[in-house]
């Protein structure tokens, strides 16, 4: 079952590469939150209830509800235009993200490890590189944040893969996740939105040599 969820997660990354509107990005992020909830619910069944509750709280309340709502609020509050405005055509993005998934899949086949479920490895690394790709090719600051959130989802999956034996590490990762997301979103996107009228990276070209 977790395999199915993780494969759907990888597919959502491919959809992310061709999504055109900011709101579709937000919806995909919310959907990924639900997927992560499912994975952690099934995978971490035998964990102690407190830890499990904490993880489930993060995925369902934070990743699925709070962050998407906040992103929606930021989009409306700052009157950000609806298109994601990538620098490259969607077709190329599609090819690149598919290549990322395929390459991580091939890489995972070289691992001879009984402990690690390879599907986790593929989903996590694809999310990481897709997030970096989105940051590199999209114009808006908000899409950069969304790319970062995709990376965070990847890290979450990876920490689930090792989390059964090391709950402390998993909790640290989640705390980091909560913390940085709140910081990045809460303080800065709003602040930048208040100071700079149109929030895209062209406004951030003043510091250079």
């Amino acid at each position: 079952m977790t395999n199915v969820l993780l494969i759907i997660f990888a597919m959502s990354l491919i959809y992310l590469s061709i999504a055109n509107r900011l709101m579709s990005y937000v919806k995909i992020l919310a959907f990924q939150g639900i997927l992560l909830f499912g994975v952690s619910f099934i995978e971490l069944g035998e964990m102690n209830p407190l830890n499990l509750g904490f993880i489930l709280f993060e995925t369902i309340v934070f990743k699925t509800i709070a962050v998407p709502l906040f992103l929606k609020y930021v989009i409306h509050h700052n009157e950000i235009t609806r298109e994601a405005e990538p620098f490259v055509p969607h077709f190329i993005s599609l090819i690149v993200v598919t290549t990322i998934v395929v390459v991580t899949f091939l890489l995972s086949n070289t691992i001879e490890d009984v402990q690690l479920n390879k599907v986790y490895f593929v989903a996590a690394l694809s999310a990481l590189f897709t997030g970096l790709y989105i940051i590199g090719t999209r114009k808006k600051i908000l899409t950069h944040v969304m790319g970062f959130l995709v990376i965070e989802n990847g890290v979450f999956i990876l920490s689930l893969a090792v989390g059964n034996e090391m709950p402390m590490l998993l909790n640290t990762g989640i705390l980091l996740d909560l913390f940085i997301t709140v910081l990045l979103l809460g303080i800065f996107v709003n602040k930048i939105g208040d100071v700079l009228k149109d929030v895209d990276v062209d406004q951030l070209r003043k510091l250079k040599d």
């Binding site: 490890d113 402990q115 893969a161 034996e165 980091l176």
Partner: protein
């Protein structure tokens, strides 16, 4: 004493934040400095005793802890000068001092931490406090600098976390979940090569944002430029050291395995590219503060060359990183005075500094000699040793290429510094420029003097500490 120190420092930071009274602020800062020194001396006298499971004052930690405690004193003094010259609202001032206290204690504890995840947590704290310092002036440009810094550092800190996760997979296979550096060092040869390799790539890439190497160096440059000079001094010296600590401690583990020469190659590529990029920008850059920041990139590249070359290079690298902290912080403290005289950082607007501020100009000249590693600067000794180690390790082409780049850097650095010192600026009106008191430069002279002294005649305690810090590395 680490946990009492942590609690005390947090308490001081919180009371600084909520207490906007000027006298209260400065007395709290004085208490913190005293506390920092008591802590440093205590840890120096209790070396190699594990404290609270997660902290171990080993040789490297002690060396860098003493460095930060020395630099913290002038940093707070110059911050005081900064606030007497810039009328600022009490809220911003309180925020500034609170962040600086957080930055210093987070760095101190990151140096001493013995657990890979604990180091990581304190490095994360340095990102937060440093961004508050960068955002101090609260305008569009500082906002841009802060945003870039937070964003790049967040991604790189995530990279480090991924590296730690990979490392933990390797550790689980051996059957013990202990992630302290000491235990990892003992079990290093038994760990799985594949996971270690992935872990090293991610951890190295992540920490390059702090140490200032290719590929993640970019954000640090803007940060040092936009932060107030005393904060910039911390950012370009002790904050870079924390990246070094992160990389070095993991490199010690890698060095015990068959991946050693592979890791050396990675470090070598990153270091040479960093020096190359520093050279390119040093030629092009028109902003003196940014030029100092690029010079830091160059020095970190040299340090990593020493690590990759091995042999005497290990010793020299640690000597170099300590001396570089003193030189660069001295130059940044002086930058504050240059800005007060000319009200600009651009090379086109400054000039004839000898006429306006004789003492300050002497500092700049001495700083130039120290930073470009000309004798009698201590950096000359360490750079010479690093080049010798490169020669001995048969990296001849790397050595020639780096020496060539360093020559260009000295030329570019000198061109700008001599323009600042001697050539009058076009259209500069010197009627009502501020007279800067000579005693404001004393701390810079002491720092540069320390560099000469420690380089040429290092006290035997320091030599022993450095030798102990590198004792785990194979020759």
């Amino acid at each position: 004493m680490t946990i009492p120190y942590l609690i005390g420092a947090i308490a001081i930071a919180i009371s600084l934040f909520f207490n906007r009274n000027k006298i209260m602020n400065y007395s709290l800062v004085a208490i913190f400095l005293l506390f920092q020194w008591v802590f440093t001396i205590y840890e120096y006298n209790h070396q190699n005793i594990v404290e609270f499971d997660y902290f171990l004052p080993d040789a490297l930690g002690i060396l860098l802890l003493v460095t930060i405690s020395i630099i913290a004193v002038p940093a707070f003094y110059h911050s005081y000068v900064f606030f007497t010259k810039n009328e600022d609202n009490p809220r911003n001032r309180a925020m500034y001092y609170a962040s600086m206290v957080v930055l210093i204690f987070a760095l101190s504890l990151a140096y001493l931490s013995n657990h890979i995840a604990v180091t990581w947590i304190f490095v994360e704290m340095t990102t937060l406090s440093a961004s508050a310092l960068i955002y101090h002036r609260r305008n569009v440009r500082t906002l841009e600098g802060t945003w870039k810094y937070i964003f790049v550092c967040s991604i790189s800190i995530t990279f480090v976390f991924i590296g730690i996760l990979f490392l933990s997979i390797a550790v689980q296979e051996v059957g013990d979940n202990n992630l302290t550096f000491a235990s990892l060092l003992n079990r290093a040869s038994g760990l799985d090569i594949f996971w270690l390799r992935l872990a090293f790539i991610f951890i190295f890439t992540g920490y390059t944002a702090k140490i200032g190497l290719v590929p993640m160096y970019t954000a640090g440059i803007d940060a040092k430029d936009k932060a107030p000079s005393p904060a910039g001094a911390l950012l370009s010296s002790v904050l870079m050291n924390v990246g070094f600590v992160g990389i070095f401690r993991f490199y010690e583990i890698i060095a015990q395995t068959t991946l050693h020469s592979w890791a050396n190659n990675i470090i070598m590529i990153s270091a040479v590219l960093s020096i190359f990029i520093a050279t390119v920008y040093m030629i092009k850059v028109k902003n003196i503060k940014r030029m100092f920041a690029y010079s830091s990139i160059e020095h970190m590249g040299i340090v990593m060359l020493g690590i990759a070359a091995g042999g005497i290079g290990y010793y020299a690298a640690i000597l170099h990183i300590i001396l570089h902290s003193f030189v660069k912080s001295g130059l940044f403290f002086q930058m504050g005075q240059i800005y007060r005289t000319f009200n600009s950082k651009s090379i086109y607007d400054v000039g004839n500094y000898f006429k306006y501020n004789l003492t300050g100009a002497m500092v700049v000249l001495l700083g130039f000699i120290s930073a470009t590693a000309m004798p009698p600067s201590g950096l000359f000794v360490s750079e010479f040793l690093i080049f010798r180690s490169l020669f001995e390790a048969h990296y001849l082409f790397v050595l020639i290429f780096v020496l060539l780049l360093l020559t260009i850097i000295i030329w570019a650095f000198g061109k700008n510094i001599f323009k600042l010192l001697f050539t009058p600026a076009v259209g500069f009106k010197d009627e009502n420029i501020e007279k800067i008191k000579p005693y404001e430069s004393i701390s810079q002279f002491i720092l540069f003097g320390l560099v000469v002294y420690l380089g040429i005649n290092p006290p035997h305690q320091m030599v022993e500490l450095i030798n102990e810090a590198v004792k785990n590395l194979p020759l």
